[in-house]
């Protein structure tokens, strides 16, 4: 990262970044709660993860520590795992129920 971009980032007030992260997270939560389609739910979860990652980055930049970026790398790894497992589950569900409606597959049977 060059000096300029660092300065440019530092020029942004922290609460703007945090606000953005909060809005993104809230949108993600709303998406999880209101969407019935499992794909959209997964995507909303991705948005929430990204919001959390943004918050970490902003905080890392503010205190000039690399920890925030390390956490972002972790979150990206978790997101990748989650997506792969989630999509595999989605495929199975779709094959079984011919639908991706989350409410339609609410019956848990052993």
């Amino acid at each position: 990262m060059t000096m300029r971009t660092a300065e440019a980032i530092a020029a942004i007030p922290m609460h703007h970044g945090l606000m953005l992260a909060a809005i993104l997270f809230a949108l993600g939560v709303i998406g999880v709660l209101v969407r019935r389609n499992l794909i959209f739910i997964l995507m909303s979860i991705e948005i929430m993860l990204n919001a959390a990652g943004l918050a970490f980055v902003v905080a890392g930049a503010r205190w000039e520590q690399a920890d925030g970026q390390v956490m972002l790398i972790f979150i990206l790894a978790v997101a990748a795992v989650e997506v792969s497992v989630g999509l595999a589950l989605l495929l199975l569900l779709h094959r079984r129920f011919q639908t991706l409606d989350a409410d339609a597959v609410s019956k848990m049977r052993g």
Binding site: V29, V32, L33, R36, I41, A102, D103, S106, K107, M108
Partner: protein, 657 residues
Amino acid sequence: MLSLLWLIPTLPLAGFLVLALSGRYLGHRSIAVIGTSSVALPALIAILIGIDFIAAPPPGFVFRQEAWTWIAVAGFSPGIGFYLDALSLVMVLVVTVISFLIHLYSTEFMIGDDGYARFFAYMNLFVGSMCILVLADNLLFLYLGWEGVGLCSYLLIGFWYRDPANGRAARKAFIVTRIGDTAMALGLFLLFTHLGTLDIQPLMQRVMQQWPEGSELAILAAALLLGGAVGKSAQFPLQVWLPDAMAGPTPVSALMHAATMVTAGVYLIARTHVLFSLAPPVQLAVAVIGALTLLLAGFSALAQKDIKRVLAYSTISQIGYMFLALGVGAWSAAIFHLMTHAFFKALLFLSAGVVIMSLHEEHDIFRMGGLRKKLPVAFWTFLIGSASLAALPLVTAGFYSKDLILWQAWSSAGGNPWLWAAGWGGAILTGLYIFRVVFLVFFGEARAATPPDTRRPGLRITIPLIVLAALSLVGGWIETPPFLGNLTLFSDFVQHALPPARVVHDGKNDETILELLAIAASLGSIALAYLLFLRYPAFLHGLMLIPALARIRKFWHFGWGFDWFYEFLFVWPYLWLAYADRHDVIDNIYKMAISFTLRWLQKVDRHDVIDYIYSGLAELCLFLYRALSATQSGQVRRYAAAIAAGSIGIIFIGIFA
């Protein structure tokens, strides 16, 4: 050998346990072996102990054996201890030997009965209890045996329990003797509270030291013990149970009348003779009760039809003789008569049993007759027993013992001519009633409805009969009156435990005259019985046509109306009260207090606080269940919402708290 004393009561009790627990799995043969051997061994031990005791007497002619302490509570510590002296030795010998013979007889007599094992179990328990009674070292342990024989008499009288009449007879015996036992228990309490011990020997010493002759306490205690003795020994006024006790099997009657139950009262008085000799009025009462009972029972025996009831009244009468002897202080004479009576009464019952069995359960002597030739064993043994009972002079045991009692009733300190006269009259009655049976059953022409079953009784019946017959003849030769050699082996021996009778009217002429009168009574009554019942029966029939005499005969037949009297005086008022009082105040109080109030409360209290608590609890549980089950809907989005809401909540708490 003496150290085996504890086995004498223990073995019959062990036999009882074995038979009671496993009797139903055993065959007849093993039941008979167990039942008989558990009495035969004690008899053998008793004989060996007796030989030992006489050959090498223990110091003071007393042997004690303490097994263990029964209870120990604040100065009251009765032991399980056995006490053997001359008196208990004689008693234990009589009890075990006679019981053994009766058991042996029963093994054949009872064959084919459903309750074969039950019978021997009860009989063993009976013998065991009696051995405890006579060997007990203290009065509480004695009382254990005392109640034990009471229980066994109930069990055995009601042995054939399917017939309600037998159950009634058993209950009657139990309740009537219980009246006496209550008195005895009170006597024991009195002795313990005043003297602080129930061990017989220390107790008697304290009685002698602390209570002067004729003191009120001594009289009261003796009277209460006499109550117990009167109940157990079926004396006036509690004699009513014994004739009904004939409901049990014949060997039971033999056991009860000869060796166990009814002799217990005589033994008790002899055992506590110190107390009785300190209470002269009670002792006089003992003598009077004996004299009265022997006459009452003698007359009743004369009017019976049932052969076993004759013998029952005869027992009451003979125990009356023993009480008479006890009352005049002739302790050893009483025990001597107890012994000879055990021989001949067991013999009479057992041979009567043979007669009854061979006539197919016929009890009525007027339906027998002419059995002399057909049942020779029963005839000879019954004749010997009857002769001994009627005190046929010189050859029978009963003569020597009864003679001794009659002489001492006249001559001893407590005796007087009236008591002698009662005894003498009783002797005439005895000869009359028993030879009435002999002549009616064995002589004359056969009146039996069914011809007798003349199957020969087996050895197990014959041997006891012969042994008992021999004892009934020679058993008295150890004690003879002055004009017959003045042998006093028995009283010399018993005098180690019981004081000799104090003779105050000593006169050789008197004694000879009285002996001759006694002999005359015995022979005369037999002759009279022969004339009245065999030779000229028409004379008696003629007499019975007179209504007054017939009524007297009936009165005697029903035991002087004592049953009616008691029924009228105690049973009916009691039943009437119970009936009349079945809806009385107390019943109503209970009805109100319990049934009504509870029902009211129940009605009112349907919705009380506790009910609310419980139903509230139930509803809370239901609510929680619903709430919790709602969280497990499986709806992913609801889970997510719940998680989001929870997170928001935690954040708020984190910020504002």
